[in-house]
């Protein structure tokens, strides 16, 4: 059982949530009182808040909106800022959080993405950036054409950690160079038009470590590297790798411990060589 500073067992604790009713609306704080149980995580806290729908002063309110999926830290859905630190809420164990501060847990949405509502943010930019760097293997087709290229254990062991990236966005939240892009929806604008306009706005902004690392992953694949030049062009373009300020925050917050700075280093060298070759008339 968790004890407070006076050695008393914690029976309940406060959860302060930064809420926002809609995109562009002003954020506000609400506090909830949650009964302590062993083995809780932030997800079970939010489930309890939804069930109560009542603040700590007894005022009725709407359930806090949040994103979650697998609850095993492999889907990347439930990223939020917990006690000031970006992380997955499923693996944020209440006992650990209360060890830091037995009285209160604070929950905020990520600040680098537009808020949809409360803790739900729009991370479609991350998927758009995967299109920008053509993060796929350009196979001819899906007919039966035999096995893929043989690869050594070493190659697999280098590729696998990069391939574990679950597009959660922690690295981007922590990156000083990755800045929020939020477009207001115009009256009568269709979904497709709005999506298109957002996509174009994203395409000249910084890619960030997530997409750079995916470009490195596919440029190392025996078939993927057949379009390495396209990916390097994207990395060399506006919002490309030159924007990285080498703060190295990304690698520190990645929940999957992906060697993001190593990827950025590899990408930087490859872009330089690619550029020099282009200057001298190579591919």
């Amino acid at each position: 059982m968790i004890k407070d500073a006076y050695g008393h067992s914690v029976k309940s604790f406060q959860v302060r949530v930064q809420r926002q009713d809609a995109p562009g609306a002003a954020p506000y704080w609400q506090t909830f009182n949650v009964e302590y149980e062993p083995d809780m995580n932030v997800i079970s806290v939010l489930q309890k808040i939804a069930t109560m729908s009542r603040t700590s002063t007894g005022k009725e309110t709407t359930p806090v909106a949040w994103d979650c999926g697998c609850l095993e830290e492999v889907c990347g859905s439930c990223t939020m800022v917990i006690n000031g630190r970006v992380r997955q809420s499923c693996s944020a164990l209440v006992d650990r959080l209360l060890e830091d501060n037995p009285r209160e847990i604070t929950l905020q949405p990520m600040s680098k993405f537009p808020v949809v509502r409360d803790l739900v943010v729009d991370r479609s930019r991350m998927f758009r950036n995967l299109q920008r760097v053509k993060a796929w293997v350009p196979v001819d087709g899906y007919a039966d054409m035999g096995a893929g290229p043989r690869q050594s254990r070493g190659e697999q062991e280098t590729a696998y950690p990069l391939s574990e990236c679950m597009t959660c966005g922690c690295c981007l939240e922590a990156c000083p160079q990755f800045l929020k892009v939020e477009l207001e929806r115009k009256p009568n604008e269709s979904d497709a038009e709005y999506k298109q306009r957002c996509g174009e706005a994203y395409d000249t902004e910084f890619l960030g470590p997530q997409a750079i690392s995916q470009a490195v992953l596919f440029n190392a694949h025996p078939t993927g590297k057949m379009m390495a030049g396209d990916r390097l062009d994207a990395l060399a373009g506006p919002g490309g790798i030159q924007v990285c300020g080498n703060a190295q925050n990304c690698v520190a917050v990645c929940p999957k411990h992906i060697p993001l700075t190593t990827s950025i280093g590899r990408a930087g060298r490859a872009v330089t060589i690619h550029k020099i070759k282009q200057i001298f008339g190579g591919s």
Partner: protein
């Protein structure tokens, strides 16, 4: 590009495989998903994907034996043509995924490495670390993104499928869906609609499934008239980590790589597990099933763990049921290489390192073998007719179902590492079938503007009336918890008719109460409260089908275990007595198969599921008794083989 369009609902392995194949054929796809497709529940699959391969072939393995293991493991309840086709496609499916860049673990020479999974004696399972499902899903997600860039796929992520659009002839012409952010409801014209929405784990409250696995999409098709097959066959995974919000899976690969399941012989022994000597440990799976050891099929492992804790009182802990799953005899380096991901999950959520301490685990609801009833067309060879528009079509024209939400492939019990295969296989195989279907149609769904608009309006009205219900006395989240408790108690590992009867009444009562749920949020923007309440209401038709299917099926088959109808071990010790008992045993087995070797097929009358039964196609592998661990198994097998030989010598006898 084709004029006709397919709507795919669900972006897990099955939905993405189908989408990518359709795009290759030039057919545009609207892809609707509750979550960004890259976050689908397929990411949770850990262990691997099965196929016969060059290593196993040298030991006598073949595609035929993969088929045999699958139908034997599934207690012969699955139609065999789709299973046979899947087993023969399996090596090609893995080669394709390899080409798409899945980082499968490698042998020293650079070939795909394999491990052994439950229910087979061969190392058939290819794997990518301990996140095989995630890696396979990402490879398909990447291909679909490629087609999205090329303009063939429109993704509608954070959209909830509300129901199929049916025309006057009862044929499906599209789907209605709702945007979870803006709450907009609209129709999508679809010349075919493919449901690939996974399993209904949330009906059980907590399970190993992700939070979007409510089963609501399948239920909405069921309520719209599509039939539902084998609902009562719910797989309970033997090894999960109990948690407050979810029961997290501990993959079968932990046993595949040599993990041993045990309990201390002294009940609730207080010594640390590592200090309990071998002689005082009860490796109950190894003792009871010497041939398969820790790798018995899932239903058997689950029941044995349940039995050890509940009936024998040997649970490791006093207040909580659990057994040890021990990997500590394997080197850390090997564990990290082969199982790193899942061991990290245990450590992360339990705060204990499984490399140095045995894990504590207990069974949890994991997979639904049953699902929407779907058709197929057999070829003359015991497999499937390629390109048949009947393949995976539900009882509703133009409405298809693939992946966990259909009822094929796994029968009464699924073998580990067969689900990823069945999802990808059915998605790929369906592509050309849909092409033929679309080519045979007259007119297009997009022309049905009035029909599509009406369907959207109907759902809008339902949504509006739900929002107006503020004064309701019931809390949807509490009703959901109650539903989960009832279902977990009555319809999981051990089933008894009195409990199932009571559970059906309780579920019906909860269904009525859920209809008067009040909403704490009546807003028109990202209202998760109303979307959850809708999903909850749609859990009841499937919950009722599960319970009723289980109640009516008076036998034991695969995951469906009713001790009142179990087949006993032989008690005689002399050969003649054993022989006589084995003859009786086989008579009873044949009698039971005549009655129960049938798929359950449900239709919904608006309040209750109505059940009929359908014969099972066992044209390739004749049914035989599943005898894992039974005393006298050798004699029963002998008698059964003699009977089989006799009956195949007399083809007239059916």
């Amino acid at each position: 590009m084709s004029k006709r369009k397919v709507v795919v609902v669900g972006g897990g392995l099955a939905g993405l495989a189908c989408t990518m194949k359709l795009c290759e054929l030039g057919i545009p796809v609207d892809l609707i998903s509750l979550v960004p497709v890259k976050r689908s529940h397929s990411v949770c699959a850990q262990g691997g994907i099965n196929s016969c391969n060059d290593q196993t072939r040298q030991l006598g393995d073949s595609e035929w034996l993969h088929l045999d293991d699958t139908v034997y493991g599934g207690d012969f309840l699955q139609h065999q043509p789709p299973v046979k086709e899947m087993a023969y496609w399996a090596p090609k499916v893995i080669e394709l995924m390899d080409r798409l860049g899945v980082p499968f673990n490698r042998t020293e020479e650079g070939y795909i490495d394999r491990r052994r999974f439950g229910g087979t004696l061969y190392k058939r399972t290819a794997f990518a670390g301990a996140t095989t499902g995630q890696q396979l899903l990402y490879a398909l997600d990447e291909q679909v993104r490629r087609w999205e860039s090329a303009g063939l796929v429109n993704k509608y992520e954070y959209w909830d499928f509300l129901g199929p659009v049916l025309d006057g002839n009862g044929a499906c012409r599209g789907a209605v869906a709702q945007n979870l952010a803006t709450m907009e409801i609209r129709s999508f014209a679809g010349d075919a609609v493919v449901i690939a929405t996974g399993g209904p784990g949330l009906i059980y409250g907590r399970s190993t499934m992700s939070m979007m696995c409510t089963g609501s999409a399948a239920s909405r098709c069921f309520q719209a008239g599509a039939k539902y097959g084998n609902p009562e066959f719910i797989q309970v995974h033997p090894t999960a980590i109990p948690g407050a919000d979810k029961l997290r899976l501990m993959s079968e690969s932990a046993r595949g790589e040599g993990g041993r399941v045990w309990v201390p012989r002294t009940p609730q022994d207080t010594r640390p597990p590592k200090s309990i000597p071998d002689a005082e440990r009860y490796y109950f799976l190894e003792e009871r099933y010497p041939k398969y050891g820790n790798l018995v099929p899932r239903d058997i492992a689950t029941r044995e763990i349940f039995d050890i804790c509940v009936n024998e009182g040997l649970s490791v802990e006093k207040d909580r049921l659990c057994v040890y799953l021990d990997l500590t005899h394997i080197s850390k380096a090997e564990l990290d290489r082969k199982l790193g991901g899942i061991l990290d999950i245990y450590e992360k959520f339990q705060g204990v390192d499984p490399r140095t301490n045995p894990m504590k685990i207990f069974p949890a609801v994991h997979y639904s073998m049953g699902g929407l009833w779907a058709d197929y067309e057999a070829n003359g060879d015991g497999g499937l007719q390629a390109g048949s528009p009947r393949y995976q079509q539900t009882s509703v024209e133009n409405l298809y179902a693939i992946g966990e939400c259909d009822y094929h492939y796994h029968g009464a019990n699924r073998l580990g590492a067969n689900s990823l295969l069945s999802c990808i296989f059915s998605g790929l195989f369906l592509g050309p079938c849909l092409q033929n279907k679309l080519n045979s149609q007259k007119g297009t769904a997009a022309e049905q503007t009035a029909l599509l608009a009406d369907a959207a309006r109907e759902h809008q009205e339902r949504h509006n009336s739900l929002l107006q219900r503020t004064g309701g006395s019931e809390n949807p989240y509490l009703i959901h918890r109650e539903l989960g408790d009832v279902m977990t108690k009555a319809a999981t590992v051990v089933r008894r008719n009195d409990q199932l009867k009571a559970a059906y009444e309780k579920v019906s009562e909860l269904h009525d109460r859920a209809r008067s749920c009040g909403l704490s949020d009546t807003g028109q923007w990202t209202n998760q409260n109303v979307m959850f309440t809708k999903a909850l209401l749609d859990m009841f038709p499937l919950a009722k089908a599960i319970v009723k299917g289980a109640l009516q099926r008076d036998e034991c088959r695969g995951a469906h275990y009713k001790p009142d109808f179990s087949m006993p071990s032989l008690s005689a010790t002399d050969p003649a007595g054993q022989r006589a008992e084995a003859e009786q045993w086989c008579d009873r087995f044949e009698e039971n198969n005549r009655k129960w070797l049938k798929s359950t097929v449900c239709s919904y009358d608006g309040n209750h599921p109505q059940i009929t039964y359908e014969d099972v196609d066992t044209s390739s592998v004749p049914p035989r008794p599943r005898l894992y661990g039974l005393v006298g198994a050798d004699m029963i097998e002998k008698v059964w083989k003699e009977r089989l030989a006799k009956s195949s010598a007399q083809p007239a006898r059916v």
